[in-house]
Symmetry: D2
Subunit: 143 residues, 4 copies
């Protein structure tokens, strides 16, 4: 199954003194794309939150390839690279939407908390568990 | 009485494509300086918050004079320009700490909420009311 | 003539500890909407910049009415409220796109620089001058 | 040799809707600490830049351990973990300055550009090369 990539237009306030997008903003773009992706797969943020579940970032990586500039629209693809019930692993690919030029790739890892307590979605939310499990299989097949 | 000015070192991630500090950051610097000022006058954020009071910004103004640059330390002075029990008015002056060159001036207006409900500090926090009242008199005399 | 309002989806990284959008972000949203508006009226940023002209913000005001929250899409309308050749005055209106609830109103003032030198668009860019002049008349008629 | 750790006070505008510091800000704090560290070792940003050299981030990693909150001061230690002439590898450790509680660890990788062209500091700046070489040895001995 193919999810819609997320589009972000690089803003002037995201530029830095080198005239390019400051590297910290890509971490924020990953979040934008992740929120969109989770909504697409049936786990919209408000709904997850309403069930008392949050999934903080426990690790993030970004590898910068070429520099995005103000005014450019980037296309961000998110996919599930791993899921254990207790942890979720996502990967990101950021490209210039016009040319396809690769801007950066990234990863984020997440745990799940209910209140302050770590939980497994297997018990806390079997429906979400099923969704993420199916996506992991899928991406395994792709690879 | 004279309060300690607040110092902020302009960061690289605060620059923009023009090679200067992006204008939106001064609004954030006002907040940094305000938090520091309120702590100095006896209204530290954590203490105010612990009593269930928040004071959201209801208006902000910034007049830009000259451009701060990366690496520069700015000195920010805050003073109370008005206080009515229900509303607080502050003014800001941002200078290059090294040369005294004026970077910008600004203002912020605040109301007070207890829960979601607007309150007057006269009733909700007579001690804070007394502090802000005394500072208003003082700044009136200065003017 | 009616310009397309600008849409911005409020991001999670734009929220603050009160669970609402941090007030400094509206200043950035004004910039997003301004860049879009200037492109619509025939003054796209890249083109203006390519002619060696920049128009820094010299004053910004924001009056906060109600609080935008994560996930909400806001609709931002920009209009020209004044223009003198040397200075441009814009006004902003930010509404919840779903309900029309007013989030905030704002203003920004701009000068024009060529290199580091203040210029009038009358001489520096008569075509832009004509555009802004016509919009000022228009908005006068509306009011 | 022991370098001064960098101190950063977590700001209100850095919090997010979970009431904690938004994870993207640590990437910015790494930059603050890096700028300070490079100045301490004899490579101040302005001086490096004046020689036409920039060192963009080509990779960044952050592992989040516990959550920093508004008002807390964090202490950030930076050290050189690798250096090849063409690339520099740094590691970061962010702790609550009051309790020593580990907030996160991180890494950044940098190349060196002169104009837009990748360079080795061995040729482009032998003095900087010597500094970074000596720090790599040192940290090797520590490990």
């Amino acid at each position: 199954m193919q999810w819609e990539p997320y589009l972000h237009k690089a803003q002037y306030y995201e530029t830095d003194g080198m005239g390019i997008i400051h590297h910290s903003n890509y971490i924020r773009w990953f979040e934008e794309a992740r929120v969109d992706f989770l909504a697409q797969i049936g786990m919209p943020f408000e709904q997850v939150e309403a069930r008392g579940i949050v999934s903080p970032v426990i690790r993030v990586v970004c590898e910068y390839k070429t520099m995005a500039r103000f005014g450019e629209t980037v296309r961000i693809r998110v996919r599930v690279t791993g899921y254990t019930g207790a942890k979720l692993f996502l990967a990101y690919r950021v490209e210039d939407a016009a040319t396809g030029a690769l801007r950066c790739t990234g990863e984020s890892s997440h745990c799940f908390l209910c209140g302050e307590r770590p939980v497994s979605l297997r018990r806390a939310a079997p429906d979400y568990d099923a969704i993420l499990r199916s996506l992991t299989l899928e991406s395994g097949e792709e690879g």
